[in-house]
Amino acid sequence: MSGCLAPIPDETLLDYWARDLPDGDEMHRVEEHLFACGDCSARLEHLAALGTGLAVLAREGRVSGMVSRTLINKLQRDGVRVRMYSLSPGETVPCAVFPGDDLIVACLRADFSGVETVTLSVTGPGGSALARYDDVPVLQASGEVFWVNPAARIQQMPTMRLELSLASADASRTEIGTYVLEHSASTPRA
């Protein structure tokens, strides 16, 4: 039961699980092996558990960083309560976390003509760097990128002003837009 002599490569196992292995001879060979080999099926089990864990985190709104519209749509379809603040360049928007929120999304709109990837820099009081996201792909047609944070995390933040700056991620570092979120801390319940 142990010591597989011809283990399925990790990449193949991952392709199989991600449905990137064409439905043909190779997939059938992989499945024949998985059914006959305890070692490789256990490896797939661990991979599947990792995938399940990632899906659980997403469904609980426990994701952060830059995400796509596709992902936000899926989260909303799955019942994640998303509060979205949309900002155009130069705009200042008040924001807060409300009871029941799972995920807080800042939708940053801009003209991305000629830009393929951007960098988002987030600074707090006194210009302190809070976060930076590099090499974020943009879909020019959509004209927006999304910065997400779990509501539970934002809820811990004090009242503060957040300055967000989008720049092209290429060597030119051309400024695309700046935005301000005036965050109000949640009022503790009596």
């Binding site: 991952l14 499945e31 990792l50």
Partner: protein
Amino acid sequence: MPATLDLSDGDLARAISARGAASAEAAESELYRRFAPRVRLYGLRHLRSEDAARDLVQQVMLLTIEKLRGGAVRDADQVASFVLGVSRTMAKDLNRTEWRREKLRDAFLPVSMVDVPAGDAMLDVDRLEACLGRLADRERAVVLLTFYAERTGNEVSKELRVTEGHVRVIRHRAIERLRECMTSVEGVQ
């Protein structure tokens, strides 16, 4: 007679086919323990639903044991292929028709063998959250689109504007980093 744990798949199949022997029941349990997780994974991969995968496990294992008991599996050493073949057929059926689960379940197996064993791989989700936060943005986007949004490499490539090959490289690297982070003794800061 060696312990059932040490028997090959083929030996287990033969022990079940022999019936009457006191070891047959133990062999059935061991066969179930060995193959139920594999059928579940097959179900998750092809049916994308935990409930459907659990249904598939019950149906496949019930039918397999029934066929073994009846001596209908010609080559006991090929029992793994037999289980896979049944899984393929039943997964297709599951997509087309309603199941006759209760009838089959009640007919053949004791209740203790109906529950699908959970995977051995238990995961610390809090730790995974921290590990996910340590990935590069593109890596995080790829694994979430793959494992949560269930997008193929081709679909992710269009979304992130990189080649499909690059998506696979990013995905593989991200999974390796998550595994390392999850097993790191240093913990996650």
